[in-house]
């Protein structure tokens, strides 16, 4: 995190975002109100997801002065039942830009919690009111803060801090901001509605400024498995990222002070014994497997110094000259610098070189990246023209660039691990669609994981026809990482794929009542703009979308033709029911008979075939979390 900060050190991040707030979706009162709602709701859902809590999210928007015309100040409050935020983190989390907990590589609705602080910033700019944060992490004590943001210094200014007793965990964030609900209302209601479709395990309540309540209870009680944080894929990496990984993989030579010596003694089980050098080494060999890296490094140094703990406490390591196999130290007792030779054949020498020069390339690859095994690592080294045992710490800048390029180009890495993704799953998606649209036909599909530029992604899609769906379809509901995308529909890749489809081929004609729900999950959604509203047409994503849609369209076509046949049969049966009695009537007089023939036998053999609908979803009672 610190290195991200460094990039903006010239001006404060707050200032940067203050002057570029359009980028984050705060361009006007309408859009800003909508974006603020989104950011807080998504933060709440993310927080619950990460802890496996069934979310209860309560959104309230209230006009400060209801009689004023729009745009005007509104108080926006989002309350959740999530884990809450530790009191000590609250000022920084809500009072600085670029502070947050979402830094791992996994699927989440938002990144870095940036959007929420942007909303707070926007609120402060437009109304000069503090953000009010109430949080409880233990369901006992609730911390309440009123915080203003010092834009120039990017620092929180705590105006008020109180605590009180409470019985529920969770976080509530309230801001005052300039908004235009009369214009943004539709989008916000759509957003809440569509979010509840893709988050069927959440209960979302919205109290709008006009006194209307929109309640969307959860109808799925199982939360989808949370995504795991994973190592990066070689394809999704750059030079800067490698550099940081190398730093993480190298270890400083530990300072050997009294504290460290105490730790080593304890780990070796020698706290109370003063053993000779040889005895210490014997003991260390026995316990080697259970020793921590730091302790091992101390033991390795000790092996060349040939000292006991008493002596060790009286020296300071000056330099470890690995290439020349020399170890320099300062002896406090003699007050002079001394040097010992290191035997390169010794196992302790290897331990020290690892520490100083970093891991060999192959180890680095297999340990630091996902889906790279020893064989692939060796193959890659050959491909990139590096020695497999090349120490990562010894790479020059040019070599780093070459390594980064080669990682991008090497095709034999396995596809990215998708365990960091959290698709909704076919069953909850289907349930949601059925509940929301009560359709005659539903089909859902989850494509296998795929990847673009080293970022894994999964496409989920659902299609539904008839029932409560209004005509004029296909109506497309776009989602990315469980966020509904409502703006900039026209330039979205999903729309492109849908519009490219010749629906006539799938027997869908006229003004059809049907919907398409598309969900793209990825560790990085390739949004076209910072507003996060439309997905760029990456070839790999487009292909997956197309395959998903084709699969579903074929199912729809089968339904449509079955429906067509059934309708035809019904029509035919109606024809018989209409004409056969007439024929009977006429032929009776013609044949000179009094009684009509018993034609019912024919009609009974032709019971009209009902269209088989798939309305099998049982209405589930809303499940409230306890």
């Amino acid at each position: 995190m610190s290195s991200i900060k460094e990039k903006f050190n010239q001006i404060s991040p707050s200032e940067f975002f203050y002057s570029n707030r359009d980028l984050a979706g705060f361009s006007n009162p309408t859009r800003s109100l909508y974006t603020a709602v989104r950011e807080f709701v998504e933060n709440a859902l993310d927080a619950c997801d990460q802890k496996g809590i069934l979310p209860d999210v309560h959104l309230t928007i209230k006009a400060v002065d209801p009689d004023k015309p729009d745009p005007k100040p509104y108080i926006l409050t989002v309350k959740d039942n999530g884990p809450g935020v530790d009191a000590k983190h609250i000022p920084l989390a809500f009072g600085t830009v670029l502070y947050g907990s979402k830094f791992g590589l996994k699927q989440a609705r938002g990144m870095f919690g940036l959007g929420a602080t942007m909303a707070i910033l926007y609120g402060q700019i437009t109304t000069n009111k503090p953000v009010i944060v109430k949080s409880s992490t233990d369901a006992k004590i609730q911390n309440q803060f009123e915080i203003l943001l010092d834009i120039q210094k990017n620092k929180p200014v705590i105006q008020k801090h109180t605590t009180k007793e409470i019985s529920k965990k969770g976080l509530s964030v309230s801001i005052c901001l300039e908004g235009d609900y009369s214009k943004a209302g539709n989008k916000i209601r759509d957003y809440v509605y569509e979010t509840s479709l893709i988050t069927p395990y959440a209960t979302i309540t919205f109290d709008d400024p006009k006194g209307q309540k929109f309640h969307h209870p959860r109808f799925v009680k199982e939360i989808p498995p949370p995504p795991t944080i994973i190592r990066p894929h070689p394809h999704g990496i750059d030079v800067e990222r490698i550099r940081r990984m190398i730093v993480e993989s190298q270890f400083e030579i530990p300072t050997i002070d009294d504290l460290m010596i105490e730790k080593v003694r304890k780990d070796l089980g020698l706290s109370k014994q003063n053993l000779s050098f040889t005895a210490i080494m014997t003991k260390a060999k026995k316990k080697w497997k259970n020793l921590s890296r730091q302790v091992r490094v101390v033991i390795a140094l000790l092996s060349f110094l040939k000292m006991d703990f008493e002596k060790l406490s009286k020296i300071r390591i000056e330099d470890l000259d690995v290439p020349n196999k020399k170890l320099h130290y300062w002896d406090f007792g003699d007050s002079q610098s001394k040097t010992v030779d290191m035997d390169p054949e010794s196992q302790y020498y290897k331990q020290l070189t690892n520490t100083v020069q970093g891991e060999p390339l192959t180890t680095f690859l297999t340990k630091r990246f996902q889906r790279v095994g020893p064989t692939t690592a060796v193959k890659f080294a050959e491909f990139a023209k590096f020695k497999p045992e090349k120490r990562m710490g010894t790479l020059t800048n040019q070599e780093l660039v070459n390594l980064s390029d080669s990682l991008q180009k090497f095709d034999d890495f396995m596809a990215p691990d998708s365990s960091c993704l959290a698709p909704l799953g076919e069953e909850p998606l289907e349930k949601g669609i059925k509940k929301f649209f009560n359709p005659d036909f539903t089909a859902v599909v989850q494509r296998p994981a795929s990847a673009y530029s080293g970022f894994p992604f999964i496409v989920e899609m659902g299609i539904a026809y008839g029932g409560d769906i209004k005509s004029g379809g296909p109506h497309v509901y776009r989602y990315a990482n469980r966020i509904p995308l409502l703006y900039d529909e026209g330039s979205d890749v999903v729309l492109k794929v849908v519009n490219d489809t010749d629906w006539g081929r799938y027997k869908v004609k006229g003004d059809p009542p049907f919907i398409i729900v598309s969900h793209i999950c990825s560790t990085r959604i390739p949004y076209k703009t910072a507003g996060k509203e439309n997905v760029a047409d990456r070839q790999e994503i487009e292909r997956e979308l197309r395959l998903a849609l084709q699969f579903l369209s074929r199912k729809l076509a089968a339904f449509m033709s079955k429906k067509g046949q059934a309708e035809m049969a019904k029509k035919r049966a109606n024809l018989y029911a209409k004409y056969i009695p007439m024929i009977a009537e006429f032929c009776t007089e013609l044949a000179g008979k009094k009684k009509e023939p018993n034609y019912k036998k024919i009609l009974e053999g032709l019971e009209p075939v009902e269209v088989k609908t798939e309305k099998t979803v049982k209405e589930e009672k809303p499940i409230e979390s306890k």
């Binding site: 035919r572 024809l575 018989y576 004409y579 056969i580 007439m582 024929i583 009977a584 006429f586 032929c587 009776t588 007089e589 013609l590 044949a591 000179g592 008979k593 023939p597 018993n598 034609y599 036998k601 024919i602 053999g605």
Partner: protein, 370 residues
């Protein structure tokens, strides 16, 4: 009892027997359908195919007839269900007409259908169903008391006796009214009692018909004059046939001097392909006496050029086996050579009565040798 009376009685008996067979035919068809329904089966019947491929010329009968191929109509076929029902209704309606001796017209049938919730998109659909009934029963629609709208007319010394309800036994002489008598159901079904005429002159046009009456052609040439009003309706052809068969009168035909006129004569003589499913509508001995193509040259008649469709019609008729010999073939060739045509009225060039004074006697004389 006079011979003619005896004959008339026989005819009357025959007519009643005919009506009986018609009713029996309808009843048997109805019974068949009834039985199917009663047995829980979809009713069906076969109908002679009226497709072009099944219309053949019978040289012995000297008319077009339908071949042996038949089509199955089934109520099970939902595409045929509607027309099946329409036909059933028509048979039912025709049955009532025949039984109650009531008459109807093509148009009347079309409108009557509505009273029974039978849907016809237009009259041509109901006309087509009427042809179906003719084909199934091999009877002309007139036998079911269904007549065309247009009426042709008749004038001359012919005594008839009506058979239609309310007029039974009432007699009429057809020379009492100078405008002529329209040939409708009552006349077609009347008994032909006696006549002093020795020939029937069928003429294509109403204008000439009136002229012929004025000029007393009926008296001068001892003839019965019939206006066919263009292509002769079925009822008129039936009457012509009866005058020929029952009264032993020869029939001659006068038409315009064009290819359509020639074909009007041919249809009276040997029927049309459209009515290939029907017999007994032809007068094979009828003679076409003019206006021939050769007459145009012979009498130097004023002409107008033939239209493209006239010429096309000539070529079409050349393919008809009936036009393969005799004057039919010869005149057609001359028309094609001249590429001009003349109306009956063309004789007016030589005076209004020229056609009755000069042309007709010559043609009557000629007819004896045809």
């Amino acid at each position: 009892m006079k011979a003619s009376e005896k004959k008339a009685k026989e005819i009357s008996k025959k007519a009643k027997e005919k009506q009986k067979t018609i009713l029996e035919s309808l009843k048997s068809h109805g019974a068949k359908i009834y039985e199917d329904l009663e047995n829980g089966q979809f009713p069906k019947f076969s109908i002679p195919s009226r497709s072009v491929g099944n219309i053949v010329y019978d040289k012995k009968l000297r008319q077009y007839i339908l071949g042996n191929s038949t089509a199955l109509r089934s109520a099970k076929n939902s595409a045929q269900l509607r027309s099946f029902t329409q036909l059933m209704w028509l048979a039912f309606f025709a049955n009532r007409l025949t039984q109650e001796k009531k008459s109807s017209t093509l148009r009347d049938v079309y409108y009557s259908s509505q009273a029974f919730a039978i849907e016809f998109d237009d009259q041509s659909e109901s006309d087509n169903i009427i042809v179906d009934l003719e084909a199934v029963t091999s009877r002309p629609r007139e036998d079911f008391h269904i007549f065309p709208e247009e009426r042709s007319s008749i004038f001359g010394d012919l005594n008839i006796e009506y058979t239609i309800p309310g007029y039974e036994g009432k007699k009429m002489n057809l020379s009492n009214h100078p405008d002529g008598y329209s040939i409708g159901p009552s006349l077609t079904t009347a008994e032909l009692v006696d006549t002093s005429a020795e020939i029937v002159i069928a003429i294509e046009k109403g204008g000439l018909f009136t002229r012929f009456v004025e000029e007393q052609v009926d008296k001068k040439f001892k003839s019965i004059i019939i206006n066919t009003g263009g292509q002769a309706p079925r009822s008129t052809r039936t009457l012509l046939k009866r005058l020929h068969d029952e009264m032993g009168l020869p029939v001659i035909i006068l038409t315009d001097g064009d290819v359509y006129g020639e074909h009007i004569a041919m249809v009276i003589k040997s029927g049309s392909a459209n009515a290939a499913h029907l017999r007994e509508l032809t007068v094979p001995d009828a003679k076409w006496v003019g206006v021939w193509a050769t007459d145009i040259e012979k009498y130097k008649l004023p002409t107008i050029p033939m239209t493209e469709s006239d010429i096309k019609r000539c070529y079409d008729l050349q393919k008809d086996p009936r036009y393969e010999s005799g004057i039919w073939k010869k005149e057609l060739q001359v028309f094609l050579r001249l590429k001009r045509k003349a109306e009956l009225e063309a004789f007016a060039k030589y005076g209004l009565t020229n056609i009755t004074d000069k042309y007709l006697p010559q043609k009557l004389e000629l007819a004896k040798s045809l």
